[in-house]
Symmetry: C2
């Protein structure tokens, strides 16, 4: 599937739902970016869910996003229940502008929605030679260490850092080991899951994906206590504190799921750090290149021939998919066609693809 | 061992080594705090090592700590090879002062040394109703995912957040699963280690602590790739970037070990976030209490009767050890006596204890 065609299609879908053109493009671009970078769980596969939420007025298509509290290096933003991508880009771009004046900026956001991949925002800092940070809370799916109930989100952490001749460093990680989607795929394929990924309804580690999906909870990064699961639980809590508590959004069990018929009130946290507030740019970039090369050239474990830098696999996939197209699974293509037909958007490019 | 007596003893040891009284107290206080909070690996057990480094002029006892680059919300600090604790407190306290004016402050530090427990600095923000963040790089001990060599540090992350009626949230975690010290203890006791903790010289997971200690490397938080080890590796890299690369300190394989006869040039990162730049304090504290209670009251896994908040175990231990004393192992007490005798510091309180 050609990325540009797919982006135009998704943008048109949002326009048909009364989303202003610029916002429709932003949201579409975030979903396509996820597909291009191989994070399909946060890409166009979610379009039907977005359509449902917008049609049912669970998301506000004309939000009055506003700064509630501000200082030269800080912002509290009220997203007015707008699309997470629209609120996220609005805030991150202002954060970058403020960091141009003062060296750094931190922003927290309340009244927002699922914003797709966290790296979409942190990466916006790169072309300004800034470090970008993007965090968000999310619906409860993870059990705290020694717990068994879905109490806290998979609350991702994304940090993007510019380099010189090397590709930028782009970390984008959930604070659980795997997302719920990975458990669901295993359940569908009837494949056992790794025993560190999730617990069953009693809080015991399980290799049964159905048990985990239906009545269990995800384990935080680190798994059980013996392998440091309390650290993943702690990181998830930090993300909830700065995204949810510091902004006045929902947090922990109260964060709405995009799959439920409720307002989400998700909270985000963004930061932009101008590297030049600390060091001359050429020195910073030279040392980033050296760090990256040191890691990549480090001796490999037996059977391995490559060490990766965060974001590297995704940059390579993006390049390949821009050139050769995004592989959209037949079932997801059908969902997109259904959405397009219902809203009167031309779906011929999707059908052509499907017939191949 | 009475905490105050022990602190006074350690401070006197540093004074005998020409460390100014205030700095001697700060360094002693950090080591005692670690012992009180149950993180003995970063406490007075390290005193002989500090003494060795100061006596051999690997650490500067009269550093001219200075701000190299500054804006209202940022600082780059040159620690002039001072004691890590002295440089750390100097920087964190200025960071807090700057955040009082502008809402937030970020500081990076170069030319510093091992600074003890990271929470010692992040916690200084608490009494100012601020969120404190403290990171540091450290000598290479961890192998990147698919690697086998000690390439990056156990680079800890500490985040402290004030609450209302509840105890503050205090996360203080290495980005490896366990520190090297835990492997050493298992080697000494001839107990196998968890297969996710470390790799052997070929980069394969090992349960043999001696293999791991002598020729292997620690695994990052998450363990192998299948359980998310690339995430721990990514977090460790982020800490190295903002502590080492952003400050111009050493990074990755070049960070000096406190156990080697070299200058360390360690880098730190500190941040202070005034919660009131974002939300009224009473609302923030009320919601922190709610978050903490939600987590603690979440249903327990079978066989568990308590869910902990980060820092909770340490606060309880600190209270107990202030009241009943710090249990100092005989071997470590002997080390302290040796140090005291060599430098002419009264060690009778230690000997009395040892004879018991």
């Amino acid at each position: 599937m050609n990325a540009e065609e797919l982006r135009a299609f998704v943008a048109t879908v949002f326009e048909k739902l009364s989303v202003p053109s610029k916002d429709a493009f932003t949201t579409a671009d975030s979903l396509i970016k996820a597909d291009l970078r191989g994070i399909e769980s946060h890409g166009t596969s979610r379009l039907p869910r977005y359509v449902y939420r917008v049609e049912n007025k669970l998301i506000n298509t004309s939000p009055r996003i506003k700064i509630v509290r501000e200082s030269p290096s800080t912002m509290l933003v009220d997203g007015d229940n707008g699309l997470g991508q629209v609120v996220g880009v609005w805030t991150m771009d202002r954060c970058i502008q403020k960091a141009k004046s003062t060296g750094i900026c931190m922003a927290t956001v309340k009244n927002s929605n699922h914003f797709g991949i966290a790296a979409y925002y942190s990466m916006r800092a790169l072309k300004h030679n800034m470090i970008g940070i993007s965090l968000t809370n999310s619906q409860p799916l993870v059990a705290p260490t020694f717990g068994k109930q879905r109490t806290i989100g998979t609350n991702p952490i994304s940090v993007s850092v510019p380099a010189g001749k090397e590709k930028p460093f782009v970390l984008d990680m959930a604070t659980s080991i795997v997302p719920l989607g990975t458990i669901s795929v295993h359940a569908k394929l009837k494949q056992p899951i790794n025993e560190n990924w999730a617990v069953n309804k009693d809080g015991a580690p399980t290799t049964n994906p159905e048990e985990a999906e239906k009545e269990g909870a995800l384990m935080p990064l680190g798994g059980p206590r013996i392998t440091g699961g309390h650290k993943g639980y702690g990181l998830s809590t930090v993300v909830d504190i700065v995204s949810g508590v510091l902004s006045g959004a929902s947090f922990a069990v109260n964060v709405g799921s995009p799959f439920e018929h409720t307002i989400s009130n998700i909270g985000h946290f963004f930061a932009a750090i101008d590297t030049q507030a600390f060091r001359p740019l050429d020195e910073f970039k030279r040392d980033m290149d050296e760090l990256i090369r040191t890691l990549k050239n480090s001796p490999k474990a037996a059977g391995q021939n490559r060490i990766y830098i965060h974001g590297e696999i995704e940059f390579e996939m993006e390049k390949d998919r821009i050139e050769h197209g995004i592989p959209v699974h037949e079932a997801f293509a059908k969902d997109l066609i259904d959405v397009g037909k219902k809203l009167g958007v031309d779906t011929r490019f999707l059908e052509k693809k499907e017939k191949k």
